[in-house]
């Protein structure tokens, strides 16, 4: 061979993740996103890759209880963290209330965005419980949030549904939250 293509050296790091209550040790290329670690290395394919740029929300998981885009973070940045994915929320015979509500309300068509929608909704409801305001909260200084449909829509705006099942997604979340409808 006349020319030698110099391959760039790949850096590997050993990390530990707790996913859905189970501890895993992984040796990963530092470039691996948390999303790819979950899907390609742990074979937890419930979390979906949509845009891979943090714009669609299909990859939403809970990291130490908070919703994040798993595509826009490195797995190595989550060494030691507690991750919950859609697989950790319920089982076919024992659905999470949000999973049951999504079925009841017909809150999806193709279903590709659904795991992200549900993980995002869980994170969002925890934020409401903490009294966090949103862009549509009339007065950001008010202590308590009434979870209106407008609040649900704004707080879930990081999750895109190409099938346009939004009214039913809002309905499912409203049902579980017990919030007032508009």
């Amino acid at each position: 061979m006349d020319t030698v293509t110099k391959t760039q050296e790949v850096a590997l790091l050993r990390i530990a993740l707790t996913v859905n209550g189970k501890r895993y040790e992984l040796e990963l290329d530092t470039r691996t996103s948390l999303l790819d670690a979950l899907r390609e290395h742990l074979r937890l394919t419930g979390t979906k890759k949509g845009c891979d740029h943090g714009q669609c929300g299909a990859c939403t998981v809970l990291a130490n209880g908070r919703r994040i885009n798993s595509c826009l973070t490195l797995a190595v940045m989550h060494n030691g963290d507690n991750i919950v994915t859609i697989e950790g929320l319920g089982a076919p015979e024992a659905l999470h209330p949000l999973q049951a509500a999504f079925i009841e309300h017909d809150a999806f068509q193709c279903g590709y965005c659904t795991s992200g929608q549900i993980c995002s909704a869980i994170g969002m409801l925890a934020e409401v419980d903490l009294g966090w305001p949103s862009h549509v909260t009339a007065d950001v200084a008010q202590k308590y949030i009434a979870l209106s449909d407008a609040e649900i829509r704004e707080r879930l705006s990081g999750n895109i549904c190409r099938c346009g099942a939004y009214p039913n997604i809002v309905g499912a979340i409203r049902d579980v939250a017990g919030g007032a409808s508009e």
Binding site: E9, T30, L74, M77, G123, G131, H135
Partner: protein, 332 residues
């Protein structure tokens, strides 16, 4: 994405030493940096993770101000009761940006140094002086609907994307910086950002290896604060125009005013001339309109973004009226 090595810094000193390695970069939330690394617009060889440094507190200052450490998350700062009550424009600006998921990850320091969302900067097939000095600017004759109308140059008409920085500019915030040798300095936010000139790749006065450690908010100025953002979608989109105002009135006359725009320039655009034009005037639409004309004096549209000049004026008038109405009979 190009390969890179990674380390988590244990403290600021360690981070300072690590970032001096060849082509090393700090990473915090990573919500913009990793996106740019995927596109190979950013190609660091070494990442120094500073997100877990003990720099995420908010503390009251003796002068009535608030010090927000740089590793605090956007969502925590937006929800902090002190920010919500005393610096509502900061809370409103943060909540107008990105999505719930991104705000949970994005840090205050990272928010300040996020890169422009100019589509030509992201398109590696297009010419961009910001990405590659002396490459040219495809936006000048391109679809420049989202681009700058103030302070731009023929080298670059990109805008700064941060909402929070606009509110910080109106408040006169200071940015606290720490050099690798652990020496600290403070820079006023309006001096922190650079105009593009002929060097649009230089966006701030940050020196290599310098870390943003905190944002210092002075005691809130008198008056009601309001941040309004106008965009293509009702949520989860960057600003076409945004305005942060702080306006105090006394018997219907404006006693003091602060005005800063977003979506108009390479930096958050504080407008001292408009503030002067408002002070002492009656709190009426005529006064707002006169100040808006002053604010947009010298604004240049580049074709597709011509509409921004009038939109900026109207957004300012609306936001001032709203702040004045909200402020009547209420403590600032």
């Amino acid at each position: 994405m190009k390969p890179f090595t990674y380390e988590r810094a244990g403290d600021a000193r360690e981070a300072g030493a690590a970032v001096l390695r060849t082509n090393a970069k700090f990473i915090s939330g990573g919500t913009n940096l990793l996106d740019l690394m995927k596109l190979e617009i950013e190609q660091p060889a070494h990442l120094v993770d500073i997100s877990l440094l003990p720099l995420n507190r908010l503390e009251d200052l003796p002068n009535g101000g608030l010090r927000i450490e740089a590793q605090a998350k956007n969502s925590d700062v937006a929800a902090d009761p002190r920010v919500r009550v005393r610096y509502r424009a900061v809370s409103e600006a943060l909540l107008a940006g990105a999505s719930g998921q991104l705000r949970n990850k994005a840090s205050i320091g990272g928010n300040l140094v996020q890169r422009t969302r100019c589509p030509y900067f992201y398109d590696t097939a297009a010419a961009c002086n910001k990405r590659t000095p002396d490459d040219g600017c495809a936006a000048l004759s391109g679809v420049n609907r989202v681009h700058a109308i103030l302070g731009a140059s023929d080298a670059c008409i990109a805008t700064h994307p941060s909402d929070m920085a606009v509110a910080l500019s109106a408040l006169g915030a200071e940015i606290e910086l720490l050099a690798p040798d652990q020496s600290a300095r403070q820079v006023a936010i309006d001096d922190f950002y650079c105009l593009p000139g002929n060097t649009p790749h230089i966006e701030t006065v940050l020196q290599h290896g310098e870390m943003i450690t905190a944002v210092i908010l002075p005691a809130p100025p008198p008056g009601w604060q309001r941040y309004r953002k106008v965009r293509d979608r009702a949520s989860y989109a960057f600003a076409l125009i945004s305005v942060a105002v702080i306006v105090a009135t006394d018997h219907e006359a404006i006693t003091s005013a602060r005005v800063a725009f977003g979506g108009v320039a390479h930096k958050p655009w504080r407008c001292l001339d408009a503030e002067a034009a408002l002070t002492g005037r009656p709190a009426t639409l005529a006064s707002y309109r006169a100040a808006a004309d002053v604010a947009m004096k010298g604004a240049i549209g580049r074709g597709y973004n011509d509409f921004k000049v009038e939109l900026a004026k109207r957004t300012l008038c609306r936001t001032l009226a709203e702040a004045q109405q909200l402020g009547i009979g209420r403590p600032s």
